[in-house]
Symmetry: C2
Subunit: 608 residues, 2 copies
């Protein structure tokens, strides 16, 4: 296969190689990130996508004069293989972290004395240091000063110019003044005079502002510099309506040009600056004068933001009802059509129809990520997403996996359900039931306050491990409040073991999403969002439990009841009773009937 | 209280304070360690014990001109409070790691511009760096060059002179030549020319040698320096019989004086040295010339040593039978006496009697740690150990906790059982049963190969968490082979989350020891050693399971059967069937009868 797209990729890589020769860089890596270390990127920073044609949210290009590789994790292997086909770019399967795999690849492929290059503005300070150290050990030079792509990307898209708006006080628990006061208290505790923030979710939370600069995340490009009295917000002022500008000034937030950030940073002298080495880029700190002492600590806003306040929790619960009801309306619609074997319903129809139902909801802003819809073998690809060029029509027997979420002014949703289409075989039911057992095991867990979130991973996995089954991704990610759908610090994932500051605290929202993927056959994933709540206090300490936030039936047609314990059956029935009670008020009569059937209690068949 | 011991402590601390003033050190810390970072110390290095009178295996003295504190973890709080009473030394309760607590204490108590001192030879390189960095952040100077205690400790004990002997090839899976070859392969992989080892367990394993320089660990003071061709062993040559010296030379191991180690190190030039920053002390590396490049990696021997070979596993199984049988003989003896309400049987009697039974066994060398025997409220202290000055007589009703282990040429044991004395109440039975559920949950777990050991912690804790219960220590530690009873790298403990290289691999031996402690009432801990074995291989990967190694009945009089599931009852009965079958051949008739009764199968009482 040698399409025009592939010719383009080839020509771009050749141009990049030429510049590499000029700059004496033997291997160049292009990560998928921006100076704010964002997950979802504005077009301007999609260098890796522009170079390779691969559009996954994770993946690093590694390039030498005679090799081109794309390193990405298991979520994207199939998708990358499809998109890279014919480009000559080889897939490098990352296991145990993409960045670690890139480092290992570099140290085996690059020779002593050679030079590895990367744009230091799109890797974190921690990553940059690790890379330098790792290369040093192998006597390889690291060059972080060049963004080589900018030299060859003619007509590079402009930075986004989308409007910034206020996240209304009706929806948030604290004013920006209150939030700034809390952050300043932490700055003082760390004995710093200034605090620099580069991460967009932290800035949006702190200022109670939102934007639309990237898909899925309601954030805007900016930096913040917080002093003892004044706060500078570096942002394109044209994005802000006049009234909002005035309000910010009233709240002692001074606006500066986005482009002037580094210059202001380099003007600081004889002072102490608090900075998060995981949430600022490697090159940023090069702008500090020598008299500036950097205090490296996690952004105080990370943990403050993760602990949702009472007002926010009330909104989240309400959003879950609306979002769940919309999804039930969609399922009612879908199942009626599938029942009559209506032709032409495809994975793409599902994506579009869900959006159609959500759009009717109050305070809905947009999807919180690319909706994942996979039928049968496509559902076995954890991050499969149907595209016009390649997708399946839903017909015959099988399982349909749907993972979808929305951004609302009152919260962010993310839920996965698996829908039976036609006949479901015993093996599929068995897999579904074990995934359900895993979901129940963790959803019902009680655990000590401040336990590190990764510790809980094994509770979900144990029922699957017992059957010799497992899944390659984490069990749960933190979820933002009308913010990033992946927003920590907590993560219920053994991959996050070495990350700091991942204690479980009251008010955190996290996903629980165990799964089984059988390549080429089917995939099953069940995902609910849960809220950390106080449980009991005993002589052994304080304990937390989860409140399941997501509201939508789990299809009992796929459940092999005989594999469940009495406690598990009880959980399923009481969850369905709650779903029924809370969604009913929002449903059409047709969907109500559907819901009644779907939430009917199940019981263990008597053995005799 | 002002005893002569307390006067002595006071006078020593005053002398130390005087030297601190001379050296301009504002705060001095005395950890419990030696240049090999050992857990159990020869008398020579027991500086903290000599200064404070506190003899626990963990604890750091922190001293200023007007304050003296001892920082130790929850295992030793009660013991330390007892021993420190009247000394004026305050207990500082370490939570989340002793060293971290000491650092935090220092940064809050020591002022900007002041100096903190510690003997850099008794903290690890990693700890030294962390300390320096932490102090620097608080603008406090760190001085690591002085061992101030040596200046005031008149008649400091000499270094031990115990014999070194060979760990016979009958007991080990590989010769020292084979082991050295494997380590050299790793040295080459890391592109180093030399590898320096300071940890005594690594050296003993590598050389197939054992000694008796410390209590409980059959190790000897030494350093090793491995080159491409030659290996230097730095050891007091008088400890070695002539024949063994010759054998070592034959195997290309050259002996050097223990005292000459640093000098040889400082003679290395223009080379690359592999070194474990967690297993070498902070001051050691100061001896390297500037032309020496240090490559910091875990000692290759750590993981090689942890994966026991087939011959070793065969010996371990056999040792478990003998050790378990000796313990059953002891229990038969004890219960007969308790039944007849014999007077005067104390916790100390138990310690002595267990040793008496073990001493009869072939290849028994000595206890692997201080036997812990606690009756009723004493059992609630996880690391309580009866001493002549304070211990309980076993009389009346209650629970007796015994945690004991032995060193054998064919392995190291460590087991905990709780014995009912007189009547056991319902709450005690309930606690015992939940601990048993925790033990069973983890013992029966199947888990992916290479999973990090701390991940498994929650599987044992979940049944306790569900009841609002927990325990403050780890669930499991790695166990050496006729070596340290605490020997990693693996640890089933969330405290070990950030430690590296803790993957579960076939052949590792680990403890599982869940517990419930009710202060002032009783403590229950059940501990078995388990072996990592291959389980199944599926499309999802390779899975491991545990073989329970420890063999001794779990007293079913303490079990509330109605709280167990059918699967748990089945596990208990089949474990007891194995215990019966394997111990019987080694038992006296009286103990055989006892065993038959203790291993009788239990069954769920019919509900109707």
């Amino acid at each position: 296969m040698h399409t025009s797209k592939n010719n383009e990729v080839y020509s771009r890589l050749q141009k990049l190689r030429e510049i590499m020769r000029q700059k004496k860089i033997d291997a160049y890596i292009v990560p998928s990130s921006d100076p704010h270390l964002s997950e979802y990127l504005p077009q301007y920073w999609r260098c890796r996508e522009w170079l390779t044609g691969f559009d996954g949210s994770a993946g690093t290009l590694v390039l030498t004069q005679d090799f081109a590789g794309l390193c990405t994790d298991s979520r994207y292997w199939e998708h990358a293989e499809y998109q890279l086909d014919g480009t000559g770019i080889q897939l490098i399967k990352a296991t145990g972290g993409e960045f670690a795999s890139v480092k290992n690849w570099l140290s085996t492929q690059v020779k002593t004395g050679q030079t590895v290059g990367v744009d230091g503005y799109v890797i974190s300070l921690i990553q940059g240091r690790q890379l330098e150290k790792h290369m040093q050990k192998n006597k390889i030079h690291t060059e972080t000063n060049y963004d080589l792509v900018s030299e060859i990307w003619v007509n590079r898209p402009a930075l986004p110019k989308e409007n910034i708006y206020e996240h209304d006080m009706n929806f948030v628990s604290e004013s920006r003044k209150e939030k700034l006061a809390k952050v300043r208290e932490k700055i003082r505790e760390h004995k710093a005079k200034w605090h620099v923030i580069a991460s967009l979710d932290d800035i949006a939370w702190l200022c109670n502002l939102r934007g639309s600069d990237t898909l899925f995340n309601p954030l805007f490009l900016s930096y913040a510099l917080i002093g003892e009295e004044v706060t500078f917000l570096f942002v394109d002022a044209e994005k802000l309506p006049t009234q909002l500008k005035e309000k910010l000034v009233e709240d002692e937030i001074r606006l500066k040009n986005y482009e002037d950030f580094l210059q202001v940073l380099s003007g600081l002298e004889n002072t102490f600056v608090l900075m998060d080495p995981r949430r600022t880029n490697f090159n940023m700190q090069k702008n500090f004068k020598k008299t500036v002492i950097v205090i490296e600590e996690p952004n105080p806003s990370v943990i403050l933001k993760a602990k949702k306040g009472e007002r926010e929790i009330t909104h989240i619960r309400s959003v879950m009802e609306r979002d769940g009801a919309a999804f039930c309306e969609f399922l009612t619609w879908l199942e009626a059509r599938l029942k009559h074997q209506e032709k032409g319903i495809s994975e793409i129809t599902v994506v579009e129809k869900i959006e159609e139902f959500r759009k009717k909801l109050p305070n809905y802003v947009g999807p919180s990520f690319h909706t994942i819809v996979g039928f049968n073998e496509n559902s076995a690809l954890p991050h499969y997403r149907p595209i016009l060029a390649a997708h399946r029509v839903i017909e015959g027997d099988g399982l349909l996996l749907i993972d979808t979420g929305g951004q609302y002014l009152g919260g962010t949703t993310d839920m996965t359900r698996v829908i039976p289409v036609g006949k479901v075989n015993f093996l599929q039911k068995q897999d579904f039931t074990y995934v359900l057992k895993a979901l129940i095991a963790l959803s019902t867990a009680q655990f000590p306050k401040s336990i590190r979130a990764p510790m809980l991973d094994a509770i979900a996995r144990a029922p699957l491990w017992a059957q010799g089954m497992d899944y390659g991704h984490g069990t749960g990610h933190g979820v933002g409040y009308f913010s990033s759908v992946h927003e920590g610090p907590q993560a219920i994932s053994f991959h996050a073991l070495s990350e700091i500051n991942t204690a479980m605290e009251v008010g955190m929202v996290t996903s629980i999403e165990p799964a089984i993927y059988r390549k080429g056959q089917w995939g099953i994933r069940l995902e609910n969002l849960v809220l950390n709540r106080e449980s009991i206090k005993t002589e052994f300490g304080e304990f937390l439990c989860f409140e399941t936030l997501s509201l939508c039936p789990i299809d009992t047609q796929c459940v092999e009841i005989s594999l469940l314990t009495m406690d598990e059956i009880e959980w399923l029935n009481s969850y369905h009773a709650v779903v029924q009670e809370r969604l009913e008020p929002y449903l059409s009569q047709e969907a109500k009937d559907w819901l009644m059937a779907k939430t009917a209690a199940v019981s263990m068949k008597p053995i005799f």
